[in-house]
């Protein structure tokens, strides 16, 4: 697709990824950390689709489907861990879970 150059698409993906990484590093609420991870995975998928559109192949879209399946599995296990953390510690602060065998 010549209408949208690949560079601008990749720059948008990079900005979205950086925002997700910033959220993971800054926020201590574990639900916001999971949301930021979703943003980062989504940005990676956007980069795949932009690169696939550059060469006109299907491979970028296929990779996005795999990222989608992986994100679904990750978010189900992650949210289950959030529920367990809240039941055991009574908070959603990621720093509260600082002990193994807690």
């Amino acid at each position: 697709m010549a209408a949208v150059p690949m560079t601008s698409g990749l720059i948008v993906a990079a900005v979205l990824f950086s925002l997700g990484l910033l959220g993971v590093l800054v926020r201590r609420n574990i639900i916001f950390i999971l949301m930021s991870i979703e943003v980062m995975l989504n940005a990676a998928g956007l980069a795949f689709v932009v690169a696939g559109a550059r060469w006109g192949g299907m491979d970028g879209q296929i990779m996005f489907l795999f990222i989608l399946a992986m994100a679904a599995a990750e978010v189900s296990v992650g949210l289950t861990l959030v529920i367990q953390l809240y039941h055991r510690l009574g908070t959603v602060d990621a720093d509260a879970a600082s002990m193994l065998r807690g």
Partner: protein, 165 residues
Amino acid sequence: MATTFYTAAVIAIAATALAIFQKNVVHGLLYLIVSLLAVALMFLALGAPFVAALEVIIYAGAIMVLFVFVMMLLNLGPPAVDQERRWLPRRTWIGPLVLTLVLLVELIVVLASPGPMIARSMGDPRQVGIVLFGPYVLGVELASMLLLSGLIGAYHLGRWEPERS
């Protein structure tokens, strides 16, 4: 088409930044849904309608519903109703509403434009499916195993064991 892409990109970046720096989880989820819808429109502008539909259905649909469901599970009891009332005042809806309206106008403009952009796309669902179950069939098997392990893991971790807490 480039205008559509850049407008959706600006909306996606703004909504993501607003989502990450909200104090409230529900407000952040609202902005994150807008961000995912904007990314879906970017996919449509890039000529990937199948992936755009999947983005709306699975990301903005299923995964965000999981988040909202967990938020409901974590806030049990009568105080949750008052909390909900305090969490969603009218002005909370203004930001996502404006961004979503811009997206809707953009989508209408794209659909009403005379040039058929789907025809020039880089792959309809049929072609994507042929490639997915052709050279990438091993990846499909691996994805199914990953989803099964995610299901078993979520079931195992989700059991509530009061004697150990």
